[in-house]
C-alpha cells in the first residue's frame, strides 16, 4: 500500500531532483514500485452469446462469448493485473434471454472472470424477481449507487461500490444508472427510487477518494454518452463531478475509437470510454502506477472481436 508519509517523502526527493535539474526519470523508481493495471470492459452485450450469423450482414462472424474469452485469456497472459468490467444491459436481445431468462449470460460472465457490472435499463426486463433469482449466481459484483433498493426485494443485494486491491493499487469502482421512469415499465422496477446521478457520483467518489483512500476511481455509467437535449449523460457526468479518474459508459451503443478526455469540476483530467454493443468490442485501457506519483502512464486499445 502507498501511504501518505512515504508518498510525501518520495515527492520531496523528486522535487529536489527537479529543482536541481537532474531527474533521471527511470532511475527514480525501481521496478518494484510500479504496477500496470489493465481495465477491460464491455457494455450492452444484450444476450449476444453467439457471434453474429454469417448472413451477409455488417457484423457477420463478429462478437460472441467464445471469441471474447479467447481474447481476454490472451490479455491475461500478458498481464494478470486486470479488472474486467461490464456497464449493464447484459440481458435482452436474443432468444437466449427469452428462453433461458438470464441464466446463460451470467454463467458466461462468471466463466470469463468479470469482476463487476452495473445495472442497465434492460436488466429490469424480467422484473426485480428476475434479478433476485439470478444475482446470487453471479460471481461478479453488481454495483449501483443511485438506485435506492431499500423498499424492494433486492434490498442488500446491490452494493453502491466495491474496492479492489490490484497489486497494491486501491481501485474504487461504483455504478450509476439511468432514470427508469418512462424507459422501463413501472411494474418491472417497482419501488426502486432513482437518485440524482451527479450528486450521487460526487458523494461516492469523494468517499472513495478521501475517506477510503482509493488511488484510482472508476464509474460504470449506464447514462448514455450524450444527448441533443439537456438530459444527463456521461459527458455531463465527466464535467460535473470530481475525484473520478475513468468513466466507462453504455446505453447509447457508441463505439469509441479512443477514449475521450474531459476536464472535471476541479480542472483535472477524466477519461471516458464506451465499447459499442453486442460484445462486438472489448475496451481496454492500461494504466501504469508509480508509488510516488498520483496517476501514471496510460494507453488503450479498443478491440473489435471476431471477423471484420
Amino acid at each position: 500500500m502507498w501511504n501518505r508519509k512515504s508518498f510525501i517523502k518520495a515527492s520531496a526527493a523528486a522535487a529536489t531532483l527537479i529543482a536541481t535539474g537532474q531527474f533521471p526519470l527511470n532511475a527514480m523508481v525501481s521496478k518494484d514500485d510500479e504496477t500496470t493495471l489493465t481495465i477491460l470492459h464491455t457494455n450492452d452485450v444484450h444476450s449476444r452469446i453467439e457471434p453474429f450469423p454469417m448472413d451477409g450482414g455488417k457484423n457477420q462472424g463478429m462478437g460472441g462469448a467464445a471469441a471474447r474469452l479467447s481474447l481476454i485469456k490472451s490479455i491475461r497472459k500478458e498481464n494478470s493485473n486486470i479488472l474486467l468490467l461490464d456497464v449493464g444491459d447484459i440481458w435482452q436481445g436474443t432468444p437466449y434471454f427469452n428462453f433461458f431468462n438470464g441464466a446463460v449470460e451470467y454463467k458466461v460472465m462468471n466463466e470469463m472472470g468479470y469482476d463487476a457490472s452495473t445495472l442497465g435499463n434492460h436488466d429490469f426486463d424480467i422484473g426485480l424477481e428476475g434479478l433476485k433469482k439470478h444475482l446470487p449466481s453471479a460471481k461478479f459484483s453488481m454495483l449501483n449507487a443511485n438506485y435506492d433498493f431499500v423498499d424492494t426485494i433486492l434490498n442488500g443485494m446491490i452494493d453502491p461500490y466495491k474496492i479492489f486491491d490490484k497489486n497494491g493499487v486501491k481501485v474504487g469502482v461504483f455504478g450509476i444508472g439511468i432514470e427508469l421512469n418512462g424507459l422501463v415499465p413501472a411494474n418491472m422496477y417497482g419501488n426502486v427510487k432513482y437518485n440524482d446521478p451527479i450528486k450521487t457520483a460526487n458523494i461516492i467518489a469523494e468517499k472513495l477518494k478521501n475517506e477510503l483512500g482509493c488511488n484510482f476511481i472508476i464509474c460504470l455509467s449506464h447514462l448514455g454518452f450524450k444527448y441533443e437535449n439537456k438530459k444527463v449523460s456521461d459527458e455531463i457526468l465527466c464535467t460535473s463531478t470530481k475525484n473520478i479518474d475513468l468513466i466507462l459508459g453504455g446505453h447509447t451503443h457508441t463505439f469509441f475509437e479512443k477514449p475521450l478526455t474531459y476536464k472535471n469540476l476541479d480542472g483535472k483530467e477524466v477519461l471516458l470510454n464506451q465499447a459499442g454493443w453486442a460484445g462486438l468490442m472489448l475496451g481496454r485501457l492500461d494504466f501504469k502506477f508509480k508509488k510516488m506519483s498520483e496517476k501514471k502512464y496510460f494507453k488503450y486499445s479498443n478491440t473489435f472481436i471476431g471477423k471484420s
Partner: protein, 254 residues
C-alpha cells in the same frame, strides 16, 4: 480472412511535472505519458472451448426451434431515420395483423425507434430466431382510439426525435414539428378520432409519450413478435417474398 490489422498510433506523448506546494512542503509530483494504439482484430480470436461447451446444450435447444424459416426476404432491409424500409415493413406487419385480428380497419401504426432491435435484416431466409432479435420484448399489441389533437402532439414528439417507423401516416419534419400530415393519403383532421396500433410499452407512456397513458386500451391478446411471425407466415403462404418498401413516409423539409 484478413490478417490482424494493427494500427498503432503514437498520438500523444507528454511528460508533465507539476509541483504542488502545500504550505512550504512539496506535496506530490505528477507525471503522465499517453501512448495510444488502435487494434482491430479479425478472425484471430475465434473460439474458446470453455465457452463452447458451456453454451452447447442451450444452443442445441435453441437451434432446433429458432432456425425455422418463416419467409424469404428479397432484399436487405435497414433501419434508419426519418424513414426506412425496415421500419415500413415492421409497421405494415403489425397494422396488417391488428386489422386481421380485430376484423376492422386501423388508421395507423407507430413503433418507437428503439423498439426495433436490429439495424438490418439480410436478404434470404427470415428465421424465427431473427424475429426474436428484431423484437425480443414481450410487448403486446394495443389499439387506441386517439383524438386528433393528441395524435398531433405524438407526431410532433416523433418529429422532434428525427422520425420513427410508421404505417398509414405521412408527414414532413419542419423545425422539430410534424407538418403536411396525411393519414391514409387524406389530409389530417385535428377534430377527428383515429385508430392507432402501438405496443403496450408505448400505450403505457413509454419513451415519454405520457399523453397516451390515459387513453383506454383495447388489448387483442397478441404479442408484437407473434404479429411479425404471423405476418411472415401469411406472406409465405400467399407466395410473397418480403420486398423493400422504400417510401419516405416521414421526410425532412427540403
Amino acid at each position: 480472412m484478413e490478417n490482424i490489422m494493427v494500427k498503432v498510433k503514437l498520438l500523444f506523448i507528454a511528460v508533465v511535472f507539476l509541483l504542488l506546494i502545500s504550505g512550504c512542503a512539496p506535496k506530490y509530483f505528477y507525471h503522465t505519458t499517453h501512448l495510444s494504439s488502435e487494434l482491430k482484430i479479425t478472425n484471430e480470436y475465434k473460439s474458446d472451448a470453455q465457452i463452447d461447451s458451456l453454451i452447447y446444450p442451450y444452443k442445441a435447444q435453441l437451434d432446433s426451434t429458432m432456425n425455422i424459416v418463416l419467409a424469404v426476404c428479397d432484399t436487405i432491409l435497414t433501419k434508419d431515420k426519418p424513414s426506412s424500409n425496415l421500419g415500413n415493413f415492421f409497421c405494415d406487419a403489425i397494422k396488417y395483423i391488428a386489422e386481421k385480428k380485430t376484423g376492422s380497419s386501423i388508421d395507423l401504426a407507430i413503433v418507437n425507434y428503439g423498439g426495433i432491435r436490429l439495424n438490418m435484416i439480410s436478404a434470404g431466409n427470415i428465421t424465427l430466431g431473427k424475429v426474436y432479435e428484431l423484437m425480443p420484448f414481450d410487448n403486446q399489441l394495443v389499439i387506441l382510439k386517439i383524438k386528433g389533437d393528441t395524435l398531433a402532439t405524438v407526431l410532433d414528439i416523433i418529429a422532434a426525435q428525427g422520425g420513427w417507423p410508421v404505417s398509414g401516416v405521412n408527414f414532413t419534419i419542419k423545425k422539430n414539428s410534424a407538418v403536411n400530415i396525411f393519414i391514409n393519403n387524406k389530409t389530417f383532421d385535428i377534430t377527428q378520432t383515429y385508430t392507432l396500433v402501438v405496443s403496450d410499452y408505448i400505450a403505457n407512456g413509454g419513451d415519454n409519450l405520457n399523453m397516451l397513458k390515459n387513453i383506454p386500451q383495447q388489448k387483442i391478446g397478441f404479442l408484437m413478435r407473434d404479429a411479425l411471425v404471423d405476418y411472415l407466415k401469411d406472406m409465405n403462404v400467399q407466395g410473397h417474398k418480403i420486398v423493400a418498401n422504400n417510401t419516405q413516409r416521414i421526410k425532412n423539409v427540403e
